[in-house]
Symmetry: C2
């Protein structure tokens, strides 16, 4: 069995502050496309890799995230991706299967069956969707909005990072539920997208709002019932006094804080009491048992064009570091995907 | 009908920073002990008044608490109390009834039936208990710990302000549930009380712990399942990284923050995500429908001596301001009560 090239993106060293392209490097290894005898792993060709904010958290040394393997210098990054099985040492998978789950930032990987989230059964939709609307971000939006947020028709919903991989879906799910939904994002292009393509009732550019509290009072004169939290810090602090009685804050992410040596302090938490707010962090892994229910819900909407999904697709693993770093300056418009190979 | 003296505690002006005795003053009015014809209020003699942290919040101008009337200068403070009905303009109450609910800081008050929480049916326990264990703080501890906290046998519980009106009950309810419980308080006397009288497994003086994170790691090497939040600020920030997966934070109060012009920023909120923590504010008013169930639970425990209650009783309405101010420096040991009259 001949060896082939295996390009990889590896971490150079633990990251401090905003991640830079130079925190990663491209290396070329070699790999034998053969599962060794008695080895129960699956050999895959990686097709699409997902750039996710959580990856920033994995670039530092931490001890409190049980579900994720932290990155270590000189090892390839890991993350969600769509892959094709080339050979399987495990009876549940066979050559040609398409899967999505946790893989490595390289061309070919040996992965454990436990890292695979699901086999891909529906291929009439773009395969890249399994890094987004049909993958972890989609399931995150679904679980966070419906399970943690408990939305009711007519409620007022605010979404930060609203054009991102998760936010754009939360907004559309809110509209499907009959809610009024406003999104914030960081550029005119994203705001236009929210209002004109994604169906948000209103959207604003938070960078052009010197007084976020005033902006929220303008869009939510009666207050917010659900704040879908993606950013944390100052945004959360401005949102808290604008929440309504018995409102909910599903905490999905706090991307504004991950690169700060000293996170911004949140000072308005006493509003949790005054307004009886439920603020609940969640991780999608706890909800994958609902994945088939989620697909039944979302696939028809995609096919009928009632839910759309905006992707920002970068070609080539070698462009992965730039794409990943871009997440933290908001360069991407929509879900950031890296194409390693199309088939 | 002769008029009698009606001593009152009134607010001098809106309060900034820590409240001082001089923010209040004692005035003497006169009152006719007679309900005017056609007036549906209830004339009561106030017996016991309750000093509660929320009263500090009512001393400033705010617009977001619907359930409470804010204080206004020259008007008497309002708060929870135990009162005796002298005359009633409302058919639900009659002379001689004992009631607890929201009354005014004065000797005699006309109160609306809607301000009365409950008629007192059980008088084989101290009447003052209806400002504490059998009143708002007791119901608060019960609802917050059992309803919001969802405790399970064997879980690890941390309570701040643990010797206070609510905290001392949370600890005892936790022990009744089979939990391991640790309390923090601000003096050696209170720590001794927690360990020797109130049955906490461990207790510590937070003022003598330069590194609160280290203290929590010492008492909770496996982390905290329920943090009953009474104080906010730095304590909350130290607690968050010590919470376990799927842990809960019932947010009852944030007394450390009420007197600060700039509340302390909480920086560790991203742990809500990593640990899937549910942090939920609550106000006891939402739980009074369970009051009779609560009495059924707690009265037998009191009678059998299985739940005890520590009160700090001050004699005389004129000493009310000192007692109230003392709450915010932690001068009181146990529930702070002001006796206006014993019958």
């Amino acid at each position: 069995m001949a060896e082939v090239r295996n390009k990889r993106v590896v971490l150079r060293n633990y990251v401090v502050g905003f991640p830079k392209e130079s925190d990663m490097k491209i290396v070329e290894g070699r790999v034998k496309l053969k599962v060794p005898e008695g080895f129960d792993k699956v050999l895959v060709k990686n097709l699409y890799l997902s750039c996710d904010p959580i990856m920033r958290v994995l670039m530092i040394k931490m001890d409190f995230i049980d579900e994720y393997h932290h990155y270590t210098p000189d090892a390839p990054l890991t993350g969600y991706g769509v892959s094709k099985v080339l050979e399987s040492g495990h009876p549940d998978y066979k050559k040609g299967d398409l899967v999505w789950g946790i893989t490595k930032w390289e061309e070919y990987s040996f992965i454990s069956p436990s890292q695979i989230c699901f086999k891909i059964e529906h291929t009439d939709v773009p395969l890249s969707y399994y890094t987004g609307i049909l993958g972890m971000p989609g399931m995150t939006a679904y679980a966070g909005f419906f399970e943690i947020g408990s939305p009711k028709k007519g409620e007022n919903v605010f979404v930060s990072a609203a054009s991102g991989a998760v936010g754009q879906l939360v907004g559309q799910f809110a509209k499907l539920t009959g809610c009024y939904v406003v999104g914030s994002a960081g550029s005119k292009e994203k705001v236009d997208l929210l209002k004109n393509k994604l169906g948000f009732d209103e959207a604003f550019n938070y960078k052009e709002e010197p007084d976020l509290d005033a902006a929220l009072k303008r869009y939510f004169p009666e207050g917010i019932d659900i704040y879908f939290e993606n950013v944390g810090g100052k945004t959360l602090d401005a949102v808290l006094p604008n929440m309504r009685l018995h409102s909910r804050i599903p905490v999905c992410g706090m991307i504004s804080q991950y690169n700060l040596a000293e996170p911004e302090g949140v000072t308005n938490l006493a509003h949790l009491i005054f307004k009886r707010i439920k603020m609940e962090g969640f991780i999608v892994n706890d909800f994958y048992h609902s994945y088939s229910k989620f697909l039944e819900f979302v696939l028809p909407h995609i096919r009928e064009g009632k839910v759309v999904y905006v992707e920002d697709i970068v070609e080539g693993l070698e462009n992965g570091p730039t794409a990943l770093v871009g997440l933290f300056s908001g360069r991407n418009v929509g879900k950031q995907v890296v194409v390693v190979a199309r088939e």
